[in-house]
């Protein structure tokens, strides 16, 4: 195996362990008795004691941690207190809309951001550049739920172009359900576009200063061709890095956006579970998203190999 690959894979272990410790500490140091939360207020003391033993709460805290860690490693997040099905199964049922929303958001935001960023970089210091910058600061600052409601108000309520909320009837054809994802994805895309535009702009400006750009121009290639073919392609590594790092931001946005637009995905599940105090689901979701973040950034690092032939570890 490629030694770099091995080292990179091994480096995720302490990260995953830290995630586990942090989540465990937050859950177990929280005030309140998990057994009481599961059994409900009316449970008898004997019932509580049995549940505590079953959950391993009568063991030492260190032992509890390793038991818990073992369960996590087997992807056993326990069962939902509300739906009474394993958390993993619940995540599987609700992941569809979330994945679709995230992918659609990226499909909208990446091309827009790369275009705006490269256009601004090519005209550095001009009015276009300033306008793109101002737009980026603005759309990065307006919170996703404010954008969401503005879109609902304007496009759904005033103009009636798109549905307001929800997913429509479950048996509706795919294309008609797609309409329900347009507003949430556009709302989420604002923040992503802002972030990616700034990174693209900086990366393309850096690339434009490289010698190969001068060479290409000296050989008579048009500036447009040099910009889009040479500079933008060489800016790909920082852009992909930010897409990976901004995944955490996107997840936060998805949680809010699914709540605003009543999409039955994992984000809405998170909020509903928190409000219903369905702790196993909350814990499972936090763990799941953190692992996903680690995995995506691992993937991004591996993507470098494909994107930039100069990188050989």
């Amino acid at each position: 195996m490629n030694p770099y690959l091995l080292r990179r894979l091994l480096s995720t272990i302490p990260v995953v362990l830290t995630v586990a410790v942090v989540i465990f500490v937050i859950l177990r140091l929280a005030p309140g008795d998990p057994a009481l939360a599961i059994a409900g207020e009316g449970a008898s003391p004997a019932e509580l004691a049995r549940l505590r033993a079953q959950l391993g709460l009568d063991q030492s805290i260190v032992r509890q941690f390793f038991i818990w860690l073992g369960a996590m490693a087997r992807l056993d997040f326990g069962s939902s207190l509300y739906y009474h099905i394993p958390v993993v199964e619940l995540i599987g049922r609700r992941i569809g809309p979330t994945v679709f929303l995230a992918v659609l958001t990226l499909l909208i935001s990446v091309p827009v951001a790369v275009f705006l960023g490269a256009a601004a970089a090519a005209r550095q210091g001009t009015l276009v550049d300033r306008a793109v910058n101002a737009l980026a600061v603005l759309s990065f600052s307006v919170p996703v739920f404010v954008v969401g409601y503005l879109l609902i108000w304007l496009l759904a309520l005033k103009l009636g172009l798109l549905p307001v909320q929800g997913l429509g009837p479950a048996d509706a054809p795919f294309l008609s359900r797609l309409r329900y994802f347009v507003l949430p994805a556009v709302g989420l895309a604002f923040g992503q576009v802002a972030l990616l535009t700034r990174v693209t702009r900086a990366a393309v400006i850096d690339a434009l200063h490289e010698d190969y750009i001068k060479t290409a121009l000296a050989k008579g290639a048009s500036f447009r061709r040099v910009l889009w073919l040479h500079a933008v392609r060489n800016a790909a590594v920082p852009i992909v890095t930010i897409i990976g790092l901004s995944f955490a931001l996107l997840i936060g946005g998805v949680v809010v956006s699914e709540t605003v637009f009543a999409l039955p995905g994992l984000g809405k599940l998170t909020v509903d579970s928190v409000l219903a105090r369905d702790f196993p689901v909350v814990q499972g979701l936090v763990m799941f998203f953190s692992l996903l973040y680690v995995a995506i950034n691992l993937l991004v690092d591996l993507l470098y190999l494909a994107l930039d032939p100069r990188i050989r570890y």
């Binding site: 990260v15 989540i23 937050i26 970089a121 404010v146 409601y149 503005l150 700034r198 973040y293």
Partner: protein, 310 residues
């Protein structure tokens, strides 16, 4: 050689921070962002004097008044007064304008507390990791782990499990920010650690804490200021998200997030209940980000998003 340098030295050397301050004052973004922030701070401080009433006072007989309505307000204590409602009332008959103005307080308090907490704690971690090689690996791996947990999820889970209070909110929002601060501080510590003046101090057997505080920490201050500003803005946003989702402060304490949450149910008939506090929130964050961008342009031109100057 040393004699010439001594005699060439000008009479008085202007301290470098004065030039930095002047350049900050000339920066457009800093000016606009700073003025906006000043307005919000003034609104928070003088909230009781800005034509507001008690933000929790309600008249259940006057719910959902439109913007700019005139009405006789009878609160639950029986006190009655004539009032103009610039932003109307919410579904429970509370004055939305007063709630929005008072909401500024929570946002700024949370923003400042989170900023201080994460800068202090993250700064300490970064300083230790950067200066003591033995601590670097373990501390930064922990930071990598913290970074992997999506901030909003961590905050939601923390606040939901622990009782909601200012302290819980601050910890929940500051915790995901620790790695960012720690990384920035660690990087600047590493960059000055082997510079001559620090070596000199070490050779003169200056105590370690003194080297850290007097010689190394100052190098980390500009990036800390930049990072701190962005964290301040992000904290205001996360607090609003938490109240909006219903896990933050309950609506007894008016925050921009819970005003919006309360207004959601009436969104089709009274969109201003959501959009007005949303606008205040957005404007605050725009101001903070402009300030942060300006600070970065002036204090750290190399890493500024402006890229290289032509």
């Amino acid at each position: 050689m040393s004699s010439t340098t001594l005699s060439d030295r000008p009479e008085r050397i202007e301290p470098p921070w004065r030039d930095t301050l002047r350049r900050l004052g000339r920066h457009g973004g800093v000016r606009v962002g700073g003025c906006l922030m000043l307005l919000f701070v003034l609104a928070a401080v003088f909230a009781p004097h800005l034509y507001t009433i008690d933000p929790s006072a309600m008249d259940p007989t006057q719910p959902n008044l439109p913007m700019g309505a005139h009405a006789t307000f009878v609160d639950l204590g029986g006190a009655s007064f004539e009032r103009w409602f610039p932003f109307g009332t919410d579904g429970m008959g509370r004055d939305v304008y007063s709630r929005v103005v008072y909401g500024t307080r929570i946002s700024l308090i949370v923003g400042v507390s989170v900023c201080l907490a994460s800068v202090l704690a993250g700064g300490l971690v970064g300083l230790l990791a950067g200066y003591f090689e033995a601590l670097d690996g373990p501390l930064m791996r922990v930071m990598d782990g913290l970074m992997a947990i999506p901030a909003i999820l961590l905050a939601i889970a923390l606040v939901a499990l622990w009782q909601v209070s200012l302290a819980t909110l601050v910890v929940a929002i500051a915790l995901p920010d620790l790695p960012k601060v720690a990384r920035v501080v660690r990087a600047s510590v590493l960059s000055v650690k082997t510079v001559a003046f620090v070596e000199a101090a070490r050779m003169m057997s200056t105590p370690r804490w003194k080297i850290l505080l007097r010689h190394i920490l100052p190098a980390a201050l500009p990036p800390l200021a930049i990072q701190g500003t962005f964290i301040f803005g992000a904290a205001i946003l996360v607090e609003a998200v938490l109240s909006f989702l219903g896990v933050g402060f309950s609506s007894d304490i008016a925050t921009w997030g819970n005003i919006m949450a309360d207004g959601r149910n009436n969104f089709n008939i009274a969109p201003h209940l959501v959009l007005l506090p949303g606008a205040f929130l957005a404007l605050t964050i725009v101001a903070v980000n402009m300030l942060g961008d300006g600070l970065r342009d002036v204090l750290d031109p190399k890493s500024s998003a402006g890229g290289r100057q032509p």
